[in-house]
Symmetry: C2
Amino acid sequence: MADLGFVGLGIMGKPMAGHLLAAGHTVHIYDLVADNIQLVAQAGGRPCSSSKEIAQKSTLIFIMVPDTPDVEAVLFGKDGLADGLKSGSIVVDMSSISPLATKEFAKRLGARGVKMLDAPVSGGQVGAKKGTLSIMVGGPVDVFEQVKPVFELLGKNILHIGDHGAGQTCKVANQIVVALTIEAVSEALVFASKAGVDPMKVRAALLGGSAQSRILDLHGERMIQRNFTPGFRIRLHQKDLNLAQQSARSMGISLPNTAMAQELFNAVAAQGGIDLDHSAMVLALEKLAQHKVSG
Amino acid sequence: MADLGFVGLGIMGKPMAGHLLAAGHTVHIYDLVADNIQLVAQAGGRPCSSSKEIAQKSTLIFIMVPDTPDVEAVLFGKDGLADGLKSGSIVVDMSSISPLATKEFAKRLGARGVKMLDAPVSGGQVGAKKGTLSIMVGGPVDVFEQVKPVFELLGKNILHIGDHGAGQTCKVANQIVVALTIEAVSEALVFASKAGVDPMKVRAALLGGSAQSRILDLHGERMIQRNFTPGFRIRLHQKDLNLAQQSARSMGISLPNTAMAQELFNAVAAQGGIDLDHSAMVLALEKLAQHKVSG
């Protein structure tokens, strides 16, 4: 069994690396935060002092860090993976980052004989802990098949979407739909509530028809119960919609409601809510309406 | 068993009146189109020459017509129901119309000793035929309980939402969510497709996670397969979003993405698509992007 590497041991990476260890893999680990390394070392992870060292000791390396510049630093920064990667190794980036940057990274690694997959996930911290993440994979299908047994330790709904960047594109599409459905449910509940109708009854009625969605079910309930504890933070969803907007601009397409959803997130952030759950987007519409859904 | 009346025998009213007849009710029928009366008469309906005559012969009267002015004409126009209604009769308006006008109509009928329910439906022509409509009811709960056995001949998900107008408010909320979810799926599929990723795989991946919705499933598939045969026509959804926008303005609230969705419907209408299925909203985003989801 090949040695695995894992860079990025935050709220997602920690439980994910844990599943790999629990399955009996040797996992070399690194994080910018020493405490995170210590915690995963207690579960059997082998601490490294840099991404470079990970690359020297492993042939299948996972990355789970916050954003595009973080992935770039892990790959190509000082003492980064690129300084230690062996030809034939595989890098699997499970972070949610720019599809365009991903294609570029895959190209640069490919020039060194290193294979890459982009494999962003949805399902959040809960999914990471339970090993039930959805994993959307881009890259060569033979590399996907090779890594699939390891993906199966981390998630349930594991799909090969297409070539390099396709996983990230799929994740961005996911985040567009989630944000805009939250916005849709927000408008509907503010509307009904302002008209004097019980939003919980509206939610129940709508769940029985063509307006049904997981967001209406879960986030609709959060809005009505005023439970904005994350969950998934507005701060992160802003990052994802920023990826959508950047990519859309560079591809030359128009995403009008994504733009509006981002502005509503910005408005909630302006009210101090940047670390609330993304269902708190409703607060911006409530501010515009001077009316609360529960009111 | 009280005699029933049914005004409005179009693509929804015809099968609905049919279910009442099939259950053994006496149903007095009227429509502006003589052929529609003839068709329902063949199933046992008793033709009347006006809404007034329906009101004289029935004590529980259903209305299923296209829009607010149509309901007003049926109720209070020349030879309308109001000219023949007996004190103690019940009028059930199953059309999708203005919540505010509904409250006004209920008040005017109440002054004559006539009870009213607003009971708009979702589920479309298919739901009407199968008797599986969702029915969202506003009005006094005792009147709702009285009419409920008849509703059960027409639908499955029958909910009392609140007082007069609450059913219509709930229906408008439903149409907001449906339109904005169609818009969300449209943006995501145009984005993915323009990035060179198979939209069918994106749809499949997203259905397994928090982006899941009935719209992503059904309307997403329609967009990818370029099947815009209605279904539910853009023309009717424009009417519903107009109700949302009018009501929002008069209540003093702001629905930014509803406004954008309406504009996208307007753009599809401008391209000649007003009688396409509402999933054809994607055509407006494709026009902006100069890129087709299937392309």
